[in-house]
């Protein structure tokens, strides 16, 4: 189905099932331990052997020698795979470094060997016996040190008007630099894969967000035809972008299974994950804003520097600044330098998450300079069109409504605009806010829908559920379209034998995948109508029946003994060129700072979101509170600590890489504005999974500033960065 004109009224608008806060249909499986995760497929591949990945002990250089002798002789060892015996391998275009390194080493903990043994413990023990000598080479590890060698990215700068002139002339100016650190996805379930060969066919049970990318990249890397690779990943214990790509677990499981001649299971250990896989790269961001005394922005510049391995991409931390605020003169662009660190790549809300942490603090600082309320300053600079192209409106933009409703609900009026004034016992108390913004991305997505003689509707699509609720909203979509209850819908996901979907990433999953299911259901409705010999436009699907004129046929009967099946997908025209599609929100945070120690704790959080139709308010809320929690982590504690001498992330476990725990997260509230966006898809929905993260960190930072009067422009905001500026204890 081609979607190239705005949606009109369709069966989804009935909202009998869609839009309801339904419990997750996969919930019982998960809470009873019956949902099978990648490492837990105990019965699919008999006689499985266990692989343990060895990562490089240096960041750059060469393997001088590798002594496998002792390991080969160790009890239980079945095979050892290295670059030397792995056979010819390609590198897919979505991987920057090769997944099996050697003799050349491109980053710390790049996989250099897989030891396969009868048991997990034997594999791990034998891996400890492998002796590797390296010849290290000098590498570039420090972004600040290579910043001046950075280049503009291929998208180029977005230039509107004359920034330099307007900024120089602006009566009120801000010129600041902000930094964000490298961050780890740190999802619960590590990367894991079981691989089994049957002749020249390969099946992998894995944990991956993008099934078709995985099939494409695994087959390309192994230099084999795509149709000989099957990928199965129905349950995923979190990904946050860390599982968008083929990674070492899957490739090495496949190679190990080929070498061992039997199925092989590989899980990455937590310490390995932090340096072996991808991470959100650090940024240095330079922001300049000029305004007139009434708070009208006249000039805005946002430049961001990040680094990556050769072939890796930049962190697009400035992209939101092209669209978020008005301002006649603009200079916006990303720059990239070469670093020999592990690969930087997408982590939840890539670009915006880091960019908004800087931009929204800059806006707070600017409001302070102007003597304006930060909410009003943002409202003053709202724009309903793309600032670079006034003929390109936003499809929906209810940012001002989010801001106003949030301010009212949160009690923003009680905030003391003068920082460092409010005290509650040992705590300094502050309120902060920031805007949330994330683009809505359209990408084609297909599904197959079957109706059987019991009246059961089964949806099959390679869409994934990374804990987000995909199963449930897809079931709701099919139920709404076919006029049945949720109990009559079965959803099967994460299998490359199903039609190719949007997958999970970039908060594009919900809208696109359900739109694909919508398209397939439209086709199934047509098939039902045709079978009954009625005009599909006249057929009503409700209460498990098809009603056409005065005929009323139960769906089960219409399906007949053979059942009916339809496959289709959504494809988009150029509506996203004519309109800018984005999601909006406002974050409000109350934070307290221990006046003596500088410890920061968050007391209250509110997010108001406008993100199209909310398909399931319960799972959407869970997405947003999870994202808010992640934003607190980014603001206050998350940082991959870099050893700049040797080029690796030192705190590579969950004791060293701190993410928020329950005690860090107090009351959280989420409000969704009532919105439908007919430009986005027939579902009129957009994404929320990443919106909830964008801006949170800045709201926390702004609250800390309001509490203390101090600005920390270097995330995470840890007490060591401002302790000496706090007032004396006494």
């Amino acid at each position: 189905m081609k979607f190239d004109t705005p949606a009109t009224t369709n069966p989804i608008d009935q909202l009998k099932v869609v839009g309801k806060p339904t419990d997750r249909i996969d919930g019982p499986l998960k809470t009873t331990g019956k949902a099978t995760y990648a490492y837990e497929w105990h019965d699919v591949a008999p006689n499985v052997a266990y692989g343990w990945v060895i990562g490089s002990g240096i960041a750059k250089g060469r393997i001088a020698s590798m002594d496998l002798e002792a390991a080969r002789k160790a009890p239980g060892v079945v095979a050892i795979v290295t670059a030397e015996n792995a056979g010819p391998l390609d590198k897919s275009k979505r991987n920057a470094a090769t997944l099996l390194g050697g003799p050349e080493i491109e980053h710390y903990q790049q996989a250099v060997a897989l030891v396969v043994a009868e048991t997990f413990e034997q594999a791990r023990t034998a891996a400890g016996l492998v002796r590797i000598d390296y010849t290290p080479a000098d590498g570039a590890y420090d972004l600040a040190a290579v910043k001046d060698k950075a280049e503009k990215t291929k998208d180029g700068d977005s230039v509107v008007g004359d920034f330099a002139g307007a900024f120089a002339a602006a009566p009120v100016k801000l010129d600041e630099t902000y930094t964000t650190p490298d961050e780890s996805h740190a999802m619960m379930e590590p990367h894991a894969t079981i691989a089994a060969w049957e002749g020249d066919r390969l099946t992998v049970w894995t944990s991956n967000q993008m099934i078709d990318w995985m099939v494409t990249d695994l087959s390309a890397t192994l230099k084999m035809p795509k149709d000989k690779v099957r990928v199965i990943s129905p349950f995923i214990g979190g990904g946050f972008g860390g599982k968008l790509f083929l990674r070492a677990d899957a490739l090495l499981a496949a190679l190990g299974a080929r070498e061992a001649g039997r199925p092989v299971k590989v899980g990455l250990s937590r310490p390995l994950m932090m340096n072996n896989t991808t991470h959100r790269p650090a940024t240095i961001q330079h922001i300049r804003i000029g305004a007139t005394p009434d708070g009208t922005i006249t000039a805005i510049a946002h430049e961001s520097w990040s680094g990556n391995l050769p072939g890796g991409s930049e962190e697009t931390a400035t992209d939101q600044t092209r669209l978020l605020y008005a301002g006649a003169n603009r200079l916006i662009g990303n720059r990239i330098a070469t670093l020999d660190l592990p690969e930087g790549n997408a982590m939840r809300a890539p670009g915006e998450a880091s960019g908004m942490m800087a931009l929204e603090v800059a806006m707070d600082e600017m409001a302070e300079k102007l003597g304006m309320d930060p909410v009003e300053f943002r409202i003053r600079n709202d724009t309903q069109t793309d600032p670079a192209d006034p003929n390109r409106p936003f499809s929906q933009r209810q940012l001002v409504q989010c801001l106003r409703l949030g301010a009212e609900r949160f009690g923003w009026a009680k905030r003391n605009p003068k920082p460092g004034q409010v005290r509650d016992g040992r705590w300094l108390v502050g309120l902060g806010m920031a805007v949330a913004f994330r683009n809505n991305l359209l990408t084609k997505s297909a599904a197959r829908v079957r109706l059987d003689q019991r009246g059961i509707v089964t949806v099959e699509t390679d869409m994934t559920d990374i804990g987000t609720g995909s199963y449930t909203i897809i079931a709701q979509t099919a139920a709404e379209m076919m006029g049945v209850g949720l109990d009559k819908v079965a959803v099967r996901l994460g299998d490359s034998s199903f039609p190719v979907s949007a997958g999970s990433g970039g908060q594009w999953g919900a809208n696109n995948a359900t739109a694909g299911v919508y398209a397939a259901c439209v086709k199934l409705r047509e098939a039902v109508a045709q079978k009954l010999g009625v005009n599909s436009a006249d057929a009503q699907f409700a209460d498990g029946q098809v009603v056409a004129g005065n005929r009323r046929v139960p769906l089960a009967e219409a399906a007949g003994a053979d059942g009916l099946s339809a496959e289709d997908g959504i494809e988009y025209g150029d509506l996203d060129k004519k309109y800018q599609q984005s999601t909006f929100g406002a974050h409000y945070v109350e934070a307290v700072v221990d006046a003596a120690t500088g410890e920061i704790r968050v007391r209250r959080m509110l997010a108001v979101c406008a993100a199209g139709r909310i398909l399931n308010p319960k799972s959407a809320r869970s997405q947003v509170i999870g994202a808010m929690t992640m934003g607190v982590g980014a603001a206050l504690m998350e940082e991959l600590a870099l050893d700049k001498r040797t080029g690796f992330f030192v705190n590579h476990d969950l004791a060293g890489y701190e993410v928020p725990v329950h005690a860090d997260i107090p009351h959280q509230e989420v409000i969704f504005l009532d919105e439908t966006d007919p430009i986005s898809s027939p579902m009129k929905a957009k994404g929320v999974g990443e919106l909830g993260l964008c801006g949170v960190g800045a709201a926390v930072a702004n609250a800390v500033h309001n509490a203390t009067g101090l600005r920390v422009r270097d995330y995470p905001i840890t007490l060591d960065k401002f302790l000496d500026r706090l007032p004396a204890v006494g």
Binding site: R601, A655, E658, A663, L719, D720, V729
Partner: protein, 316 residues
């Protein structure tokens, strides 16, 4: 993890003898630290002697009015003991500030004292570390050292001891009771139990090979207001940046021990004379010989500010 053999001991002296007999043998109590280290092959014992069945899991009053805490008393049980809560509040609070509920249910008194450093380089076997591999060097010096020691460190090692419990025990003048393979026992004052790194950071305590901890005794209660303040980046489940264990008497005198600053719980008795004069004077004495790194110099300020806050809290 290297393969190992395992046995259960039936008496403390037999346990000690079993370890002495087998080079590379170790005791295992709750296992919450040892097993993690074995998985990473930082510890590679060939033999484990399980001491959980030794019935060293009671807290008893001593004749001189103190408490004798069995080596196997779990951190949860010790924190909840009514006598500890009443008379040694700083200990109960320190315990509850550590780890998580699940870990405290497993963790034992002896195991807690003997838990190893959280220096991140210690955990990466590709990195040089004098504590893990004597003579290999110290990757933390000149590296990422935000969490590491500011005082009592050496050119060989700047690690800290991560325990909260031990800091309170140091403030309370606890004594570690042990037994050796030949059945002889001794009492080691906590001040002498943990060692500074010097040239031998791999030797962390005064224990001899095979020596088993049987109990920790606390002298009779000293009264005063008991405070334990642990400063950390997140609200729970994190090791201390710095911590302060304080017992403050009505006249402003008392005791102070610090966590998160040194290779052992840090206490300088002479500095306590300054307590009535306030945090600055006490800190000056406590950290007189501090040699912080660029990354952790903030701990000096943090100790003083935290102590000031603790003293203010104790005053009420």
């Amino acid at each position: 993890m290297r393969p190992f053999t395992y046995e259960r001991a039936d008496s403390p002296a037999a346990a000690a003898a079993a370890v002495e007999r087998r080079p590379g043998a170790k005791f295992i109590a709750g296992g919450t630290n040892l097993l993690d280290l074995m998985k990473l092959e930082i510890e590679t014992p060939a033999h484990l002697i399980d001491v959980n069945g030794l019935k060293l899991d009671t807290v008893e009053a001593t004749p001189d009015g103190g408490l004798r805490i069995g080596a196997l008393v779990r951190n949860t049980a010790l924190a909840a003991d009514p006598r500890v809560r009443r008379d040694y509040g700083v200990l109960s609070r320190a315990l509850l500030a550590g780890a998580s509920g699940q870990l405290r249910n497993k963790a034992t008194t002896a195991g807690n004292l003997l838990q190893r450093t959280r220096c991140p380089y210690f955990y990466d076997t590709a990195q040089p570390c004098n504590k893990r591999q004597p003579g290999s060097g110290c990757a933390a010096i000149g590296g990422y050292s935000r969490q590491l020691a500011v005082v009592g460190s050496s050119d060989a090692c700047i690690a800290t001891h991560p325990s909260d419990m031990a800091v309170a025990m140091r403030a309370l003048d606890a004594t570690v009771e042990t037994v050796r393979a030949d059945g002889t026992t001794r009492s080691i004052p906590i001040a002498e139990f943990h060692r500074l790194p010097g040239d031998t950071p791999h030797i962390e305590t005064a224990l001899m090979p095979g020596e088993l901890i049987t109990a920790v005794t606390l002298p009779k209660p000293v009264g005063g207001t008991h405070v334990y303040r642990k400063v950390r980046d997140r609200a729970s489940y994190a090791f201390a940046l710095v911590s302060v264990a304080a017992v403050v008497q009505r006249d402003g005198g008392g005791r102070v021990a610090l966590g998160g600053v040194a290779h052992k719980p840090w206490r300088v008795e002479a500095a306590e004379a300054e307590m009535p004069r306030g945090a600055k004077a006490v800190t000056a004495g406590l950290l007189a010989d501090a040699k912080p790194t660029h990354d952790n110099a903030f701990k000096l300020t943090l100790v003083e500010r935290t102590l000031a806050s603790v003293l203010a809290e104790a005053k009420g």
